[in-house]
Amino acid sequence: MKKSVYSICGMCTVRCPIRVESENNQVTWIEGNPHLLDGALCAKGSAGAALISDTERPQQPLIREGARGAGRWKKVSWTTAYDYIADKLKTIKTEYGPESVVLSSRGGPWQGMYKTFIHAFGSPNYTNHDCTCGRNTHHASLSINGVGRKGFVYDIKNANHLVLFGRNMFASLRIAENLQTMDMLDKGGKLTYVDVRQTMTGIKATRFFQVRPGTDYALALGMIHEIIERKLYDADFIKRYVTGFEELCDFINDYTPAWAAKECGIKEKSITAFVEEVAKDSPKVIFHPGWNLSRYKDSFYASRALHILNILMGNIEMKGGLIIPKGPGDCGVKGIRSLDCPKPDIKRADGVGWKYKHFDKGPGLAHLFINNMIAEDPYPIKAWIAMRHDPFCGLPDPQQQKLAMDKCDLLVSIDTHYSEFGWYCDVILPESTYLERDTPICVQKGPKPRLAVRRKAVDPVFDTKPSWEIFKQLAERLDIGSHFPYNTIEELWDWQLEPTGFTMSDFDDKGFISLTDEVIMYDRDNLDGQFKTPSGKIEIISKKLDDAGLPSLLPYESPEKPSKGMFRLVYGRSAVHAHGHTINNPLLSELMPENKVWINKRSAAKLGINDGDLIDVIAQGSSYSGTVHAHVTEFIHPEAIYMVHGFGRQIPLQTRAYHAGISDQKLMVGKLDDWDKAGGAINLCEAFVAVRRSARNPKRRVEL
């Protein structure tokens, strides 16, 4: 039988809206939702269909038999697996207290469910992957604007100029945003791109700054200087909504474009020419404050500087600028119900909220658990449940993490595939793939807010379950089932929708429920109350940072230069993989089976490395090394080497991904401790590695 459903892609965390056709429980067609994306989809999105029949994923619950990581599994029923986990959790709760259990997830619109579970269990220790992703950007925005990373959406389509600092959007795809950017460029808009290497986004740019690694902040300061010097800022907006502008003017004095150019290794006149363009294009110039900015020691301040640039443009709540997302309330509609349980009043084990008071308490900071677990300070952690989160792939130094995990009596991975962490766990609960599972309804805020839902396109082909059922079942066994007031997904959906007056059939038409026909914009002269800072204004000098003893305007410090033979390790994404998540997908591994290491032509020549040679990349002060092919190019800064993240996986059952390419996080030995005290994120681009031509390059033909 033929079927068509609207759903939400799950190949990466962008979650594009899709429409899926199936016949006899086989997916035959996936496209971007025609009403929102006119069919557009990326390679990963289409390769989703290959996920379903992939037998190299867990097909029923597994309980470990041998040593951790040895890969000996006993296939068990769901009842056995649930009982096993619940019994262990009960014992741990009795002996060590509920707070000794951590639950980590990737984050996203459904994290309320996971949070509810762990909070209801009695532990405050919910965390997510964001310390290796957007935490710096999030905290930067909170400190200045009083709203987090999602506190603005970018109206790129109507902008005149988009400025991206290392936000490689044409490889780290978000289809709606990509389409907007293309449309803007087609209309003659400009794109300025800043990175240490050339990327697909750089190719599409109208201006490209190839900067020295770690100098983004310097470039942003140089831009601020020139914009203030030439009085190109929106003085009325600043007067009305911003505090700390005078302090900024004093601070910026020495950071001239000439200084910035020298620091970044670019030409002064290209900075002034850029600002000349800004003069013409303002106020519709968007400085993207970054997505994954867990990179350099001052990335938090770089992100703050980018926010300051937006404020100088005065581009808040206008067409072609930064728009405050609207929710159901703005449309005169009641919001949906969501699973929720208040956080228990116990100190978090990562120190967030009591030791580190200036961070968002929501998900805390995952990396801060690790050393605390090893030291059993402030209390022992005895179980870690990873909900589609792979700390061993996301966080640096899995070896060190294992020392912490070895302190646990229970490690559980709930995931659609074998994660590196899952392989080390005691129990794997296989979640159904996104094409085989339903999820709760979520609100998508924006200028035109809507409700969205993922609906399964086909029934699970293996003995896998959706997460709403997994958490319900575990909750029942732990006597916290009342927090999950449903037995079927239909009951959950109805319960969520009840206050809104909508029903599930309202999704049938387009796959989403639009809460408004028109774009909703607030009155720009009356934005009071939108900036949730202590003063209610946009704070260039942040009270919160002050209270934490941190500067709001950090004097610039030049990044460390790698010593001889060493390189700064820089990572990124390609358009065909979503980090470690997709490396083993048959259709995607066919396109990109392994990563290569980019190295500058001149640096490579000095080391006798030719394009395509095998090279050894060696972690600093450790014996870990990986061998991989070199991509020799002039389009990367000589101080850096670059690789796509997610490769170098060590799960034998994933035959396509097994030891294919190398892993950046395994090269970051000791780097769990290198994190941003102001922004909270890990400094993932502060690791240095040695590179040499590998002895494995064939010298002779030796065959018989």
């Binding site: 557009a40 990326c42 697909m200 490209f208 358009a575």
Partner: protein, 150 residues
């Protein structure tokens, strides 16, 4: 006379290889055959911005195809509207077509042991739909063009 062609707007193309997977997924192809290909020239710096040109190639659906006459069973055929396609019922997988094509366009499908090649998604086109690669191109860079009858 060829009625159709696929045009790539290289300004919009981001070399994401989506089209290649859209094509494979639509035809349910296993690892191995890839029916269209996105390629680009080596990067060249133009006024400080490294640039390149992308190209998209599927099958040329030649006016006078080499692959059709060589086929021993008549499986490789050219339609009235110019589409060159494989009739899977008669294809024996000898791959003579691949050898005859100057660009080795026809590919071997290891699952069916038959030749497979771009057929402009004629099943979709006949239903008034666009080919898979065009419909789902990430940035709408591909266009399916119907040429006017002369």
């Amino acid at each position: 006379m060829n009625k159709y062609m696929i045009h790539l707007n290289t300004k919009r193309c981001i070399g994401c290889h989506g089209c290649e997977v859209h094509c494979k997924a639509n035809k349910g192809l296993p690892v191995g055959p890839i029916l269209c290909e996105i390629d680009h020239k080596p990067l060249k710096s133009i006024r400080g911005v490294p640039k390149t040109e992308f190209s998209f190639r599927s099958c040329y659906h030649c006016d006078d195809p080499f692959c059709v006459p060589i086929c021993p069973t008549g499986a490789m055929q050219k339609r009235e509207d110019g589409i060159v396609f494989v009739d899977f019922d008669t294809c024996i997988g000898c791959m003579a077509c691949q050898g005859a094509c100057p660009w080795q366009i026809p590919q071997h499908n290891p699952e069916t042991n038959k030749a497979v090649k771009c057929d402009y998604c004629m099943d979709r086109v006949d239903q008034g739909l666009k080919p898979a690669c065009v419909s789902k191109c990430t940035t709408h860079a591909l266009k399916f063009v119907t040429l006017e009858e002369m």
